[in-house]
């Protein structure tokens, strides 16, 4: 038990010490004084009009050779760093996300005076405490492996980001303090004004956590889209320039949203496991509700994620056409087929969970007959979505087709078809959710029937519009590749969601219960959908992390500092998938360990759990 309480503190100390150490060790003036004369090409420049006084103070990025990379027997440098980074990112995502909805839950609990929220929030927090220390440990491991295997890169980055690293360490200390006060003060600060103070602590915790992520993001995005340095990598002296590079803002947003979705999925899996192993109805009800809420958060955060992704991709294109094409059209085109399969699986699982949820209320039976139609639409959309643009053919098939284009599948491989499919998937997932929300109520307004008819009309015309846009822009306008349909399609989808939700609220303003939600009355198999969501999220994060990093190709810092190590080549998708799988298994094992440890440290205080 002592270990559990001390571990965060120890690891925080270790990490901070490491950070401070390297940021001091690699002060710009010291670290490169010996290297400067050894770059004759640059120093012999006489015609450069752009050389400023600041550049003279900062040397260019070092040009490395394969010998400059230390070797440790038995360890593959890239694999070691990759694993450490991946572990750190998974745990970091988890511990950043949990406080966000712990904060939200605590606030909702205060507003609704529902102790159920508060006790759930506390339980999440306990889980996150152990994860926090593991995050720090993996962070330390990552840093250590980087220093050991890529010392020159770290020196270069530290020469630019030194001040932010010190800031990082300071905030890290602050966050640790806030975290401890927040968690251990939970019951002490439980009533009245004290609760407000506690809530404020939660806010501070999130603020510092997010700040930490933003700082670390700057280092990562700098490596992809360097700013604040000239073409040779010489720093202009202004840290803000380097921090505020092209990808920083979209990456901050993308990671922020993704973390919430990810945290939700992990908590959902936790709740699912507890549900399966509950012995009492009360526990079962509690964990069923927790799983539902966590899944709601996860899927809710998943929906805006593609838009943040579009922004990120657009910025990558804007920075370097080459990197953008590499990402979407080149080597990694197939990776997005894998991504499509994973996201399709997420959608199916989320819908399945909602369908199973219909059995929570007696009123849900009315809607079960629609499941097959929703499933049909989802499946067709899904199949369209992952139909590859480049078909893989056996020789005999190629012979039979006699050409490179498939007359039927060819059009489905293009962007307009995929956009159409995604929007339809979103709409039907929304429909599943709508049905679930309705399952325990009967509208009694006299005009409810008209309201529902309006909703149906909006739905049908929206789908017609989306399909029409996709087909028309995709195949009947001259430019096959034009994705002109995507914006009006998304607008249509959003319109449906907003308008139908408003009408829904109006219809059910006056309603009577068709049967209460009986939390806990959920088939066991539905809980596996939550596991699938968690596993898929984890795997997907690993895969997308790989592609984000891999599009830099053979650069440490894109176009500025070249990776001259033997590992500079881009691995195949299959290899990356195997690495991600091993990582996922290790991560899952540690998470299970965390849950086990946090269970040891105290039973859940019974604060609620009654159906309400």
């Amino acid at each position: 038990m002592a270990f559990v309480k001390k571990a965060p503190f120890i690891s925080v100390l270790a990490l901070s010490a490491l950070l401070v150490l390297i940021s001091f060790l690699s002060g710009p003036s010291k670290a490169f004084s010996a290297d400067t004369p050894s770059s004759p090409v640059i120093s012999s420049q006489t015609h450069d009009a752009g050389v400023t006084a600041a550049q003279a103070a900062y040397p260019p990025a070092p040009k490395l050779k394969a010998e400059d990379y230390p070797k440790v027997k038995g360890l593959n440098p890239r694999l070691t760093v990759w694993m450490a980074a991946q572990m750190h990112l998974w745990f970091a995502a988890f511990v950043l996300a949990v406080p966000i909805f712990v904060f939200i839950f605590e606030a909702i609990g205060m507003a609704k005076k529902d102790r159920r929220y508060d006790s759930t929030a506390y339980e999440f927090m306990r889980v996150s405490m152990v994860a926090y220390s593991i995050t720090a440990i993996t962070g330390g491991l990552l840093l250590l492996s980087l220093i050991v295997f890529y010392p020159d890169l770290m020196k270069y980055l530290a020469s630019i980001f030194g001040p932010t690293m010190i800031l990082y360490a300071l905030i890290f200390f602050a966050e640790t303090g806030v975290l401890y006060t927040y968690y251990y003060g939970w019951h002490a600060l439980d009533r009245g004004a004290r609760k407000w103070a506690h809530l404020f602590l939660g806010f501070l915790l999130n603020l510092s956590g997010t700040a930490l992520m933003f700082i670390a993001n700057a280092w990562v995005t700098f490596m992809m889209t360097p700013a604040g340095v000239d073409i040779r990598g010489a720093f202009d002296g202004n840290v803000w320039h380097a921090v505020h590079n092209h990808l920083w803002s979209p990456m901050n947003l993308h990671r922020f949203i993704a973390n919430i979705a990810y945290g939700g999925s992990i908590v959902g899996a936790y709740a699912a496991y507890k549900f399966l192993s509950s012995n009492t109805d009360e526990d079962r009800a509690h964990y069923d509700w927790m799983g539902y809420a966590a899944n709601f958060v996860a899927i809710g955060a998943l929906l805006p994620l593609p838009f943040a992704g579009y922004w990120l991709t657009a910025e990558i294109y804007a920075y370097s056409q080459q990197m953008g094409i590499n990402l979407m059209g080149g080597v990694f085109a197939w990776l997005f087929i894998v991504q499509a399969v994973l996201i399709g699986a997420l959608f199916l699982a989320a819908n399945y969970y909602l369908w199973c949820g219909l059995s929570r209320s007696e009123g849900g039976r009315r809607y079960t007959k629609y499941i097959k139609y929703i499933a049909f639409a989802l499946t067709v959309s899904f199949l369209v979505w992952f139909t590859p643009h480049t078909l893989v053919l056996k020789p005999s098939e190629a012979q039979a087709l006699g050409g490179q284009y498939h007359p039927y599948l060819g059009p489905l491989g293009l962007m307009p078809a995929k956009n159409t499919a995604v929007n339809i998937m979103l709409l039907f997932t929304y429909l599943s959710f709508l049905l679930y929300r309705r399952s325990n109520r009967i509208a009694i307004s006299s005009w409810a029937i008209y309201g529902k008819a309006t909703q149906a009309a909006i739905f049908v015309s929206a789908i017609a519009n989306i399909v029409y846009l996709g087909v028309y822009y995709g195949y009947f306008t001259n430019t096959v590749y034009k994705v002109a349909s995507s914006v009006p399609q998304v607008v249509t989808t959003l319109f449906v969601i907003v308008s139908c939700s408003l009408i829904e609220a109006a219809i059910y303003r006056r309603s009577e219960e068709a049967g209460p939600y009986r939390w806990g009355r959920m088939p066991e198999r539905s809980q596996y959908a939550l596991f699938l969501i968690a596993v898929t999220f984890t795997w997907l994060m690993g895969l997308m992390g790989f592609v984000r990093s891999a599009i830099r190709q053979h650069w440490h810092v894109y176009s500025v500092m070249r990776d001259a190590s033997p590992d500079a080549f881009t691995p195949t998708i299959g290899y990356a998938a195997r690495v991600v799988s091993v990582g996922t298994i290790i991560f899952m094992a540690i998470v299970i360990f965390i849950f086990w440890v946090s269970n040891l440290s105290g039973r859940r205080p019974h604060g609620g759990g009654r159906a309400g």
Binding site: F386, T390, P395, G403, Q404, Y405, P523
Partner: protein, 252 residues
């Protein structure tokens, strides 16, 4: 009459499979096995999900399976099934080991082009490269026609052995080649491609294909060795002219 759930399951899966197989069996345009495999995997999962969404239908779906092991009156069928199952599994395993797999290599036939290509001592940006003869089509139709004819001569002295007299990919040596030479005839061939894509494929040939497209097996020569740049453009012009196709405009 209500069809029992397990039968429904089998029927739905079989019908979908039949639909996916139909283009190949009826129209001779098969959906690739790799795609069918993926499709079927998800269709089976989706059907399972629908049928297990409520307790009642789950119960009904698995009732025969459950009955098989639990109902004493079904002992005979159970024993038969329990004997047949291992034998089938064994037979499949035997089949696998007997032929040693021998799965033919998968190959993608329409790989993404590179950004840039080097040939004839120059660099070509494939995203902006246009056929220099194309503008003659409007400016000087007679000159354009002459170039097309010269392109025809280039084609019939170099390409038609494999790609065929009729530009249908069936030349008199085509039957000896795997993968088969590509056709140019038809609206779904070169009309889908820009001329810069053709330029890349002709100049760099089979060996210039990316790995996923099987450069080791393609017998397309790298024509930069034998044809001049202008001859390549002429032959491209001919390919479009003879088949009545229009090149796809450049742009993403």
């Amino acid at each position: 009459m209500k069809i029992p759930k397990p039968l429904q399951f089998i029927i739905v899966v079989l019908v979908v499979y039949g639909l996916l197989k139909a283009p190949g069996l009826l129209l001779g345009k098969p959906i690739p096995q790799s795609v069918i495999f993926m499709y079927m995997l998800f269709v089976v999962i989706a059907v399972l999900l629908v049928m297990t969404a409520t307790d009642e239908s789950t119960e009904e779906l698995f009732a025969p399976v459950r009955a098989l092991v639990e109902d004493p009156s079904k002992r005979l069928i159970r024993n038969v099934v329990f004997i047949i199952l291992p034998l089938t599994a064994g037979y499949i395993a035997y089949g696998f080991t007997k032929t040693g797999g021998g799965q033919a290599g998968l190959r993608s036939v329409h790989p993404a082009p590179p950004l840039e290509m080097r040939a004839y001592g120059k660099a070509f940006d494939l995203s902006t490269l246009v056929n220099p003869l194309r503008r003659l089509e409007k400016e000087d139709p007679a000159e354009f026609k002459r170039n097309v004819e010269e392109g025809g001569a280039v084609y019939f002295r170099n390409c038609f052995f494999c790609h065929g007299d009729k530009l249908d990919g069936i030349g008199h040596y085509a039957h000896a080649l795997t993968p088969p030479p590509l056709p140019f005839k038809g609206r779904d061939t070169i009309a889908q491609l820009s001329e810069s894509y053709l330029f890349w494929r002709i100049v760099k040939g089979g060996v210039g294909l990316p790995q996923e497209a099987g450069p080791a097996e393609s017998s397309m020569p790298a024509w930069e060795e034998d044809l001049r740049e202008d001859e390549v453009w002429k032959v491209i012009t001919f390919l479009y002219d003879y088949t009545g196709n229009r090149p796809r405009p450049l742009g993403r």
